[in-house]
Subunit: 335 residues, 2 copies
């Protein structure tokens, strides 16, 4: 689609969404499983804006909500069960597919409903009656900002905190390559409301539980290098999780400590979920295609970030992963 | 000063600085010791802009330059010695005092010179012939952006990388409370040049040497808690530095790992520089005044970040620091 056409289409869909929202007294908002700052922040910001317009709003997320999102304004209004009687208007926020909301969210829910689908994922399945999909938006929060302005609602502090959370989550504090001038322009408007950037950043990116800190210590203690420091591998055993009291999902992000070490090109974190059940995260810095490596094990992802599962004892899994990384590095180097 | 007056004054000084720069064929730029991203990025961005106007530019920093700033565009042009013959125009960037440039930078250098003083520190000593001091600017880089635009120089990628580095350094990636709508608006303009935000952020905030990573491991291993986890104390001995191969300055930021742990209010990092030479960094989260604690030991700083030196063996120093923290916490709690 040529940019001008794209722009016209967006403007037209946005207008239709605005008209739809304006005419209804209530709406149900849905966000995806394994919620992140973008889906929750976007849903809450939109909901608060709709409430400001006098509408009744139902908020759904399958939960559980990550602890660092538990203080978002309005978060207490989120329900983890879907009532039998839903409003006529369903708004999906940041969901590439309706099924991302929960496993039972099938099209039968859509009978007699108007479904508004607002998302920035290029893979969006266009499952709505109205689909506003903008892959150029770094976060769905950027689209919600635009919609709220279009609805004529002024940006309150509560809305701003939610949208700012959405944007810094999906742009990695304005560090990912998806960040655009628009991301910064919206941030400029949000900060004018007087929100506490230090507090928001602290909760999202800095504050850690004691268990998380202990788990980092374990991961660093288990760090191993291969190929003169080009490959870095971390292992977290079931025992490590038990000893630190950390939940399995708290290892998120630890693989970056390995990836960010000078001269490391490829990093892997192996996580022992159960005996013979190993989850592997791969990361690379600039030239190794770790999507291909994950694919060898039946996994996948992106060139610089991928993952897979292995049904092997931890030590065996580690050997296999190291071997695959070494081979891939050697092949790349000989090309 | 009332805001409108402030604005008029700024506009007038900025104009005078512009006129001064326009009429001279060359200038010497100075930035402060222990250079950071704001002083180097600001100096290099301004220098590149002046070169674009056909001027000869001399760049000075006392050095050494931190490794993560070694790839800033133009960094190779920075000299660590001052020639006998200096241009008539000296421009100080991000220096609260002229003496911040080096220990021998006294007013005698200023004989027959025009000194332009561009800085955002509220403590600036107004040592220049023209002083443009704007404490509202989150970074001196924001002021340099404005000056470069005023000079009619278009923002190249090299200028943008330097200014972006300046701004994210002094705003902590837009997370400190000094961040304003203006910071974001300038970032929006800079990102339009197509700079690689991921690479800049990686170099500045994420990439670590192996020694740094090992030092983090040591610091986390030595972490101790007091008062039910309200106080967290880290220790780095000379042996730790030897074993990790890390320079003493590489411990910067490690105290935040202690401060950021849930329920911790006050954190301290003790660094053994020599036998009976201990440097202490204090941090607090929300209510403890660590400036007062550092002052007890002859140090100082801010309410939430301070430091001091102790001429005690490491273990004794640790006892004293813990005692002072416990006392301060108890006093606050009983108030």
């Amino acid at each position: 689609m040529i940019p001008a056409m794209q722009k016209r289409t967006t403007t037209s869909i946005l207008k239709q969404i605005k008209l739809e929202i304006e005419k209804v007294p209530e709406a149900a908002l849905f966000s995806h499983v394994s919620p992140d700052g973008d889906c929750l922040g976007s849903m809450l910001a939109l909901g608060i804006a709709l409430e400001g317009l006098g509408k009744r709003v139902f908020y759904y997320n399958a939960g559980p909500l990550p602890e660092n999102l538990n203080s978002l304004p309005g978060v207490a209004r989120i329900s983890m069960s879907i009532p039998e009687e839903l409003p006529k208007t369903l708004i999906f926020v940041d969901c590439a597919e309706a099924e991302r909301v929960n496993s039972i969210m099938t099209r039968e829910y859509f009978q007699g409903k108007k479904v508004l689908n607002i998302d920035h994922h290029v893979s969006n399945a266009y499952f709505g009656s109205l689909n506003w999909i903008d892959p150029e938006a770094a976060a769905t929060g950027e689209m919600i900002y635009r919609l709220i302005r279009k609805l004529g609602v002024s940006i309150s502090k509560d809305i701003a905190i939610n949208l700012y959370t959405a944007i810094i989550t999906d742009t990695g504090r304005f560090s990912f390559s998806n960040t655009t001038a628009k991301s910064f322009k919206i941030a400029a408007e949000l900060v004018k409301t007087g929100i506490d950037l230090a507090a928001i950043n602290n909760i999202l990116f800095e504050r850690k539980t004691l268990s998380q800190t202990k788990l980092l210590l374990k991961a660093l203690s288990n760090l191993e290098f291969r190929q003169g420091g080009t490959i870095a591998v971390m292992v977290l055993s079931q025992k490590d999780f038990e000893e630190t009291g950390a939940e399995k999902n708290l290892s998120e992000g630890l693989v970056n400590y390995a990836r960010n070490i000078e001269n490391v090109e490829a990093a892997a974190l192996l996580k022992e979920i159960g005996t013979k059940e190993i989850k592997v995260s791969f990361r690379s810095n600039s030239w190794l295609d770790v999507n291909r490596i994950a694919s060898q094990f039946g996994g996948g992802g992106h060139i610089r970030a991928s993952g897979c599962s292995l049904n092997l004892p931890l030590e065996k899994a580690k050997e296999s992963v190291i071997l695959a990384l070494e081979e891939a590095i050697n092949i790349e180097r000989n090309n």
